[in-house]
Homo-oligomer: 516 residues x 2
């Protein structure tokens, strides 16, 4: 590398390090706020988060970053596309150009507005008072549409919003995938729920929190989550958060009367944590030290939570240990009964409590409502009723109020409308595709899982996915790992195989939607 | 205020807020490092602390701050000296001018050097390997002398270093105070230790940590420490740390075989916490939201730890409760025996474990060694032997090694040499003076303490000391509170009264040192 490039590269890395350090600091402020901060600290904490966020934004949108990128372009063009420097340059260029499109004043308006909406939501939701939020949400929608106008080249108005978390995906690619998925899920859910529901009452006995905590930790340690480079704490809403590649923390929530809730939340967040703990350490303090997209991130959490954690093989190994931990509660419950209970399917109101099958229906409802709002075919005033109608039509349940209806999820009340939900279902779809690729590479995986040996699966994920951080976009990564585009079929195969076996069903023929 | 001043004042406050937010963020990084950070996080954490520290320094030394101070000077000159704006201007002017004297490169050199020395100390101390540290410490001493050279107007070379934590105090004012204190302490210690030592073996039974924790929390809550605006965690070295005036946290350390150690550490840190929780909320996010000096801060911790926490009146109220908490361990131990045990005096090696009487001798030894090093009458090579000789002469004990001798305290191995110790003994002296003033204003305080009512004492401290933050210098504050300069006599009266009663001693006449 010639000295001119070397100097520019060093300066760019130093600037990126400073920005990443500020982002890590913001993450620590957030983590502390959710875990240990005394209530009195909240006002100053909001101010500190705003200060640090503003500094990071100022430093990233500094024209000097653009100049350095320009200076480095001829160097990067000599590199193979697969080179880390080239990848870093592309990611920074993309993010920098995106940030330059958005006026600082607009970002500040969004931050102030969404902070106010969030505060109002925390009060209006318990009071079931959607009308209070309506004018605020109308402004949120206007801001969301405005955001997309900064990217006038978009094909669909939701695309720039989707690109913020799932870069490369668009309405044109997601909508047919989701339509086909729903088309397959509806009859499956219909058949499953037509049968006697699984008895899961024994999961709602009293399970002391300390034992739940210890069991969950034991499982995720065995998965490979490194407690030397991470830790688990309790929060109201579980999450994963990173302060550096060597400090990736998770949180969980335990309910002494609900064994499954805390356990699967722990496995889910550990899946996110395993992803970030596995990123190439050379990417530390650069934008490459991140997940490839919201969807890919969710694929990692869901893979460990569902494809591993709710599998018969997993419990073949772990159920005797769980019975030892809770002999009074589970001593007389068979493995088969337990396996059915943790995979109970029911039409329900709440996304985050939904089972593996119906979960995607919750997500698709939200995704389509978002699109309708952005397209202008639905107004905020009509939203609560549209929510109810969608639930009635697709899930067969009617929310008795807006609290557990349109005000259920925080997303629309803590940011822009659009782009916040598709990642969950993209992640689920990818679990099927990634796991099928892993199985093809190593057919012994199920037996290893049944023997409590998760190292082979983790190694494969590390090498194929984790290691690369955000070097590749989601679509590039899927192409590398599976040899093609995102495909629904492996996920459908997985669902039909699992639930077909559980409920003795055989898969009907469905006309494929073109392109899915 | 005319609009020009108003604009300058607003801009200055906005800049100060940003700087204070960065300092709070650095404090959170530090707190997390000591409490919950997984070991793997340490490398990135050092980098993040350096980034945030550098940004705060850059922003505070920005010439714009100087211009704003200049612009505001005519406005401030129209204000009464006691006005908050005037005080803020003085404090910022003082700190800004000090910061301007020090080249940024020098600060960076000091930061890098002291980080390296600290790392080396953590290894060399357990290995009893002072020779390894010697060349590093010689550089630290050279840097310390260099620091003072940036303030060529100093009277004594240690004065600029002392001013960093105890602004307004100088060698000329501290040395005679400390000499007189030693002159008084030596015969008192002599007489006390000539008697049969108090039996404190019962303090070293097994005391379950959770009960120690709950008891300590109950006491400090009753002191007035607000857990809505603070919290307590466990760390290896206890400390108090502030993230905002509404989030002032403390840490403690519990030893299941040493009841006094954890309890008095808790009371000590709570004293620091009460100080900062009591600062005028109008000072939030400005440099006034801080203690007046290291000495004044220590006076608040020591007052609650010793003058309250080791008093007979306090235990008159709390000992029955402690016995209820630990009936097996203390049920048969009388209040009198307990009171003697927690006030046991012995000549010992370790400062942080020393009793109330000998503690100051440990500090004065360090203070005088620092002065000798800075004056050039002592070399680093001679320091270990000088340490041993001082301990032998003044405390009658000889450190068997350098680990518990010259390498005992972190101070010289984590910063400059000079100015790090005097605050401890200045604080002790001030406890006597402040408490005497409190008693004069409210003679019923001892009875209130004996009834477990700490609110009157806290109210007095709040109003007289806490509320003002760093609005006044230590000397101004002492003048306001006691009507005169720092005086040793009230502290000596307190010590003689307490230990005279405990050991049936009467105070000999000592020729006063002029000026003390």
């Amino acid at each position: 590398m010639n000295p001119k490039y070397q100097a520019a590269r060093s300066e760019l890395l130093a600037r990126l390090q400073e920005i990443e350090d500020l982002k890590s600091v913001a993450a620590l402020l957030t983590w502390d706020q959710a875990t240990y901060m005394p209530p009195g600290g909240s006002r100053a904490r909001a101010r500190q988060l705003a200060t640090v966020g503003r500094l990071a934004h100022e430093k990233f949108t500094d024209k000097a970053i653009g100049h350095l990128l320009d200076q480095l372009q001829p160097y990067v063009e000599t590199l193979p596309e697969d080179d880390d420097d080239a990848a870093l340059w592309r990611v920074v260029r993309r993010e920098y150009d995106r940030a330059q499109r958005i006026p600082a004043q607009f970002m500040a308006d969004v931050a102030n507005h969404t902070a106010a909406v969030y505060m109002a939501w925390t009060e209006a939701r318990p009071a079931n008072d959607f009308p209070r939020l309506r004018p605020m949400l109308e402004k949120t929608l206007a801001l969301s549409r405005q955001y997309s106008q900064y990217f006038p080249e978009h094909e669909h108005i939701a695309d720039p919003l989707i690109a913020r978390s799932d870069f490369g995906m668009t309405v044109a690619t997601i909508r047919p995938l989701f339509q086909r998925l729903r088309q397959e899920l509806l009859p499956l859910v219909e058949q499953v729920t037509a049968q006697e529901p699984a008895d899961d009452r024994f999961l709602h006995q009293y399970f002391p929190e300390d034992k739940q905590w210890a069991f969950g930790l034991e499982v995720i340690r065995r998965f490979g989550y490194d407690l030397h480079r991470g830790r688990q704490d309790k929060t109201h809403h579980p999450f994963m958060i990173k302060f550096s590649l060597d400090d990736v923390r998770i949180t969980t929530r335990l309910d002494p009367h609900d064994l499954a809730s805390g356990l699967f939340s722990t496995l889910h967040e550990a899946g996110h944590g395993l992803y970030e703990q596995g990123i190439n350490p050379a990417y530390e303090a650069t934008p490459l030290a991140d997940g490839a997209s919201a969807g890919v991130h969710e694929s990692q959490s869901r893979l460990w939570e569902n494809l591993v954690g709710r599998s018969r093989n997993f419990w073949h190994y772990y159920y005797p240990r769980l019975q030892e931990t809770f002999p009074e509660q589970l001593g007389k419950v068979s493995l088969d009964a337990f396996y059915r209970a943790i995979n109970k399917v029911e039409r329900s109101l709440i996304r985050v409590e939904a089972d593996e099958l119906t979960y995607n229906l919750h997500v698709i409802i939200r995704f389509e409502l978002e699109l309708a709002l952005l397209e202008g075919t639905l107004t905020i005033a009509e939203l609560p009723e549209a929510w109810r109608a969608s639930y009635q039509e697709q899930l067969g349940v009617t929310p008795p109020d807006d609290r557990d209806g349109v005000m259920q999820d925080v997303h629309w009340y803590a940011g822009l409308i659009g782009g916040g939900f598709q990642g969950y279902t993209l992640g689920n779809i990818l679990t099927g595709q990634f796991y099928a690729a892993a199985l093809a590479a190593r057919p012994s995986l199920p037996d290893e899982i049944a023997a409590g040996d998760f190292a082979p699966l983790l190694s494969w994920l590390r090498e194929q996915i984790h290691w690369h951080g955000s070097k590749y976009t989601a679509l590039e990564l899927v192409e590398r790992v599976t040899g093609g585009p995102i495909r629904l079929e492996p996920y459908l195969d997985y669902l039909w195989q699992k639930y077909g076996e559980l409920y003795r069903l055989s898969r009907p023929k469905v006309d494929p939607v073109p392109g899915a």
